[in-house]
């Protein structure tokens, strides 16, 4: 039974399991093949810190890469469409990931594999 929750200003997220083996790896493999520098990412978050779009919304390239690596494709589509492609992330990335091409390749893979 659902009780109306009291708002304490924070929420407790439910337990969640990611079954990596059950997920579809197609997209992440296509993207890694098209932009191999994806594999260099250390998830440091510098990209998200400098992001132009992130000034206005909770957009984060770090999160996108995390979702991609876990093959959680469903949330990807909504996230990726927020990017303005300005290229700041590419200039600050300490691992020299080609972030702009990465975004484009994810977008392309999403439209071509599951249209």
């Amino acid at each position: 039974m659902d009780k109306k929750a009291v708002n304490f200003g924070y929420i407790v997220t439910r337990d969640r399991q990611i079954d990596f083996d059950a997920n579809d790896h197609t997209i992440s493999r296509i993207v890694a093949n098209a932009e191999p520098s994806l594999n260099l990412c250390i998830s440091c978050g510098t990209c998200s810190a400098t992001c132009s779009a992130a000034q206005f919304t909770d957009f984060s390239l770090r999160k996108i890469i995390l979702l991609l690596r876990r093959d959680e494709i469903k949330s990807l589509e909504k996230e990726i469409s927020k990017c303005m492609l300005c290229g700041k992330c590419q200039l600050v990335c300490p691992r020299n990931v080609s972030t702009r091409n990465l975004i484009i390749q994810i977008s392309k893979a999403l439209t071509t594999v599951h249209p």
Binding site: S37, T50, S52, A53, Q55, F56, T57, F59, E77, K78, I80, S81, K82, C83, M84, L85, C86, G87, K88, L91, V92, N96, S98, R100, N101, I104, S107, K108, L110, T111, T112
Partner: protein, 609 residues
Amino acid sequence: MTFDLFVLPFFIGLLFLVAVLVIKYSRWIALMDAPDRVKAGMALFSVNLLKSLREVFLESLLHRKMFKRNALLGYMHMSFALGWFLLIVMGNLESRIYSGGHINPPYYPIFLKFFIHDKRVLPFEIFTLPGFFRFTMDLLLLYVLSGLVLALFKRTRSKWFGLKRTTKHNSFDRWALTSLWLIFPMRLLAESFTAGIYQGGGFLTNTLGSFFALILPVQYLAYPAWWAYSTMLGVFFVTLPWSRFMHIPTEIVLIFLRNAGIEPGKYPGSFSEIEIRSCPRCGVCIDVCQMNQVGLTGSTAVYFIRSLRDKQPDISLNANCMMCGRCLEACPVGIDTLGLRVGARNVDNKILASDFSYLPARQETEKNVDVVYFAGCMGHLTPAVKRAMLQIFEAAGINYTFLDEDGSICCGRPLKLAGMKDAALKLVAENTSKIKRTNAKILVTSCPICYKVFNNDYKLDGMQVMHHSVFIDKLVEDKKLTLNPLGIKTVYHDPCELGRGSGIYEQPRHVLKQISEVAGVTEERANALCCGGSIGELNMSATQRNVIRDNALNVLCEPNPDILVTACPLCKKTFGPGSGTPVLDIAELVAESMNQEKPALKSKTIVEV
């Protein structure tokens, strides 16, 4: 006798060529946008036509831009174009004398020496020199043949012609080229043999003919030679519409349409079809392309345009371009390579629609300022530039507002260059309304990328767009800023989007000259190198970018400057990590110069060293 069977290959080829050209051109004209068609029609009856004819004469016949690049290369192209053109004109005049001024069938002037063996002084020539036409026609043939000899040398000695690399032609182009090359030697042989039989001809054909008559049975060889000459012309005409030589007729159409004021860069469209076919694949764009430095030679403008013409553009190859515009600057035909590439990227792109609904709702508050400052994404990435600009605004007492102080909405140019036009337009609309609400008279931006798109794609109701280097120059001219010499040597790097992209070369140099000694480098202004950080490029790895950056730095730091100055935050950010010389934006240096209390920059750099 004014007809012989051997003229048929030429005649049929010519009719075929004319038919194909008429069909192709009328289809393109029919597919043109209505306003463009009206523009083109109007231009037919205005001074534009004279301007176009002048340009056709200078570029298509004289090959002026080719001469500017290399004298030998220019001479080679001119001898083919002008030489052949004059052969046709003079041949026609000569043939008219025999037909009593009537227009002849097209093959008659071409094969005149087969039909007429006249050694008299022609009536017209009494006023000039006896044998004028015989002499001139031989001289012109010799002129074209001299170009042919150079063209043969160019195959192995392209460096003499200022080309390190030449175009790799496909087999079809080689066929067309071979037939073109054979036309003139065949004409020489045919005319010489005939001259040998009848003791006619001018200084060249007569001499050769007499010689051949001594050692060869010329009376048997002449007729086959005329057949061979006619066949080569026929083959060339039939292959022309599908070979690179389609540029010969199409470039004339292109010049005319361009002067009529039709905007390039609409791909796909009939104007771009004409542009694509105007590419002669001369290969001038190959050497200037910096992608060569990292072995990415497949996407050079010439090959990219060929892939468009073959209707097989390669998406990933097309992404390999920094959009620096060096090929556009070098192109003797003036084809808008960048517009075509962006257009092709747009067509290729199968990506998700962008969604910027998260951007903050538009505020209703209106401002009333003189100047609105837009740092841009890259401006925010180089806070020193931003700070320097604010200092300059304060010092000059400008009534300004900092539009993107709390974060930039990207200007849209990166999306546009990546071929995502619809997404770009959303950002353009967003920024336009923000900018307009300031009611400012001048929009100043620190980023040349923003500057270019503000100028070209934004409709700001007469608001003046200025790059900060131009604005600073204006402040200094208006005596609102006083600059003090810093006693240092600088080199100015022209950012692609500001220099070639927007034609701003002088204002930044004018400012710099007042505060430092500006040293020149080998490749500057329109020939300036790209820093390698380009947002137009999508595929290149960071390592490859660094190679291009380092090569550019080698050129820029050749005069050993104290400071390498640029006017683009992206260039600064790119050069910074690879440069032994400090890299500063022009705004930073100006802020340094107007601030007398602070220690001069020179001492600071010495400490750093």
